[in-house]
């Protein structure tokens, strides 16, 4: 056949291939969700959410796990967000754009790809031992804050980079200082991108287990943490703990907890997408 027909064939063929790929990906996801849901949906009730863990599967609940996750989320956010955004603003708006700056930029981006367990080791040595924070929420938060700091910095820089130069020029042209321009124009304009980045970073925090294990978060914590120095556990760890037990009831508990964890993740991602869309509508350069 000639090249014209060949092109048409390839075109049609790809349409089907692409559709099949999408179908399979969605299919796998559907299978996973249906599987989990069928296993654990029935177990979810008010008692499950508000009970402490217990040796008896029917009595065990995820109270300490999700309160631990909430604490970790809160503390990590408090530590990493201001730090990350400020660093991102400085590097993008204030720093000189020379070789040193680009080396720093590359290294920060690389840090985002470092295996999280390495952060765990770092956290254990510095926060756990040096600062003597042990296996507390504070140690865990500092460690995870370090983990997601590069992500926030990069997200902030990208969001600020996307703000067109003309906006800054207009502000400078009116006699604004660099800080006024950054605070009143650039940051609000880039807020959507920054927020999206933060939420995605935080949803990563929700799922991180390895570094927390390394710094000493316990698997079995029968109390709700009430201060940053308390010991803790988080949802993924609780899930891992239950799934390692032989009893089938604990497996069901695990499945239920996974559903809750998925829900949290989906909600956070959903918020990120919603914010991104809302922001996209407001700004149209």
């Amino acid at each position: 056949m000639n090249s014209l027909t060949l092109n048409r064939v390839i075109d049609t063929a790809f349409k089907y291939v692409g559709f099949l790929c999408t179908l399979s990906a969605l299919g796998i996801l559907a299978i996973f969700i249906i599987n989990i849901a069928s296993e654990g949906l029935s177990r979810i009730d008010w008692q499950f959410i508000t009970s402490l863990p217990s040796r008896k599967a029917e009595k065990a609940g995820i109270l300490t796990a999700w309160t631990g996750t909430a604490w970790i989320l809160g503390l990590t956010a408090t530590i990493s967000i201001p730090l990350g955004i400020s660093a991102g603003i400085y590097l993008e708006e204030y720093g000189k754009k020379n070789r040193l700056a680009s080396i720093i930029g590359v290294n920060i981006a690389n840090l985002a790809g470092v295996p999280s367990i390495i952060y765990g080791l770092l956290g254990l040595e510095i926060f756990g031992r040096l600062f003597n924070l042990g296996g507390s929420l504070l140690a865990g938060s500092f460690t995870l804050a370090l983990l997601i700091l590069p992500i926030i910095i990069v997200a902030t820089r990208e969001a600020l980079k996307a703000v067109p130069k003309t906006l800054r020029e207009a502000s400078f042209g009116l006699g604004a200082t660099k800080w006024q321009t950054t605070w009143h124009q650039v940051l609000p304009a880039g807020a959507g991108g920054i927020l999206t980045g933060i939420i995605l970073a935080l949803s990563r925090v929700v799922g991180e287990t390895a570094p927390l294990i390394v710094i000493g978060a316990l698997a079995y914590v029968p109390f709700v943490p009430s201060s940053p120095m308390d010991e803790f556990t988080v949802m993924p760890m609780q899930i891992f703990n239950w799934i390692s037990r032989p009893q089938h009831e604990f497996l069901v508990n695990g499945a239920a907890a996974i559903i809750i964890l998925l829900l949290i993740t989906f909600i956070m991602n959903g918020i990120a997408i919603y914010l991104r869309n809302k922001w996209q509508k407001k700004i149209n350069w």
């Binding site: 003309t166 906006l167 502000s171 042209g173 006024q180």
Partner: protein, 250 residues
């Protein structure tokens, strides 16, 4: 009274010698057009007048640039004060992603005007001067992006007028607009001349001939000819100028 004076001004972007020995005097309440082919240095010179070139890596300058008698490149000059004095309107309208009202009020707020009533008055006055008040007075809190291109540019002009500059720089203000909006902007320039000194960079020679009192022709970083617009367009002294304005440039 000369309000802008350049004495042996040179400008460089790294190794690129962008402006060579520019000497020019611009009088108060005149409209001066800077014309010339792309890359001739006219925008560079314009942006030196409010030091917008400071943000470009590798930019440096020599010579003296006086505005109202003061050397604006001296260390002690506050950039914010200079720019309140010397306003700028850009090529592509660039309103802030805020309401129409807040766009015009921005310049006032960052300069410390706290009295809300004063802000309101000055916003209205500026929008009237920019011949936009009638079209937007009932929708001041709508987003600036809901305006057409021509209206957005007039909004940018109002925004600049609000901080009460004495000089207004315009960098090809109508090049992104349709002919009708362009005509409105040109009419506006003619009106503004009475209170302000205007320097306008334009690619469009007809625009230069229509709106300006004096014209400066730049080529390859040099100021080739500067004089009354009517003289430049009826009998330029230098052949290069004549070639350019008659469209015979290569």
């Amino acid at each position: 009274m000369k309000i802008i004076e350049a004495i042996d001004v040179n400008a460089y972007y790294g190794d690129n010698h962008a402006l060579t020995n520019i000497n020019i005097e611009i009088k108060e309440n005149t409209v001066t057009a800077l014309i010339g082919p792309s890359g001739c240095g006219k925008s560079t010179f314009l942006r030196m007048l409010n030091r917008m070139n400071d943000y470009i890596e590798g930019f440096r300058n020599e010579g003296t640039l006086l505005i109202e008698g003061k050397d604006i490149y001296k260390k002690k000059v506050k950039l914010e004060d200079l720019r309140q004095h010397v306003g700028m309107v850009f090529q592509k309208p660039n309103p802030f992603p805020k309401s129409i009202y807040e766009n015009v009020a921005y310049g006032l707020r960052i300069r410390g005007v706290k009295n809300e009533k004063e802000v309101e008055e000055r916003v209205e006055k500026s929008l009237k001067k920019a011949v936009l008040w009638g079209e937007v007075k009932d929708s001041l809190d709508k987003s600036a992006y809901s305006l057409s291109g021509g209206q957005q540019q007039r909004l940018c002009i109002a925004r600049t007028l609000a901080v009460k500059p004495s000089i207004i720089l315009m960098d090809e203000p109508a090049s992104a607009l349709d002919p009708l909006s362009t005509a409105k902007i040109e009419e506006l320039i003619a009106e503004l001349r009475e209170q302000y000194t205007i320097v306008i960079v334009t690619h469009n020679m007809h625009q230069a001939s229509r709106v300006s009192d004096r014209t400066a022709f730049f080529y390859l970083g040099n100021l080739i000819e500067y004089g009354k617009t009517s003289d430049i367009f009826t009998n330029p002294k230098i052949k290069q100028t004549e070639n350019y304005i008659s469209g015979r440039f290569g």
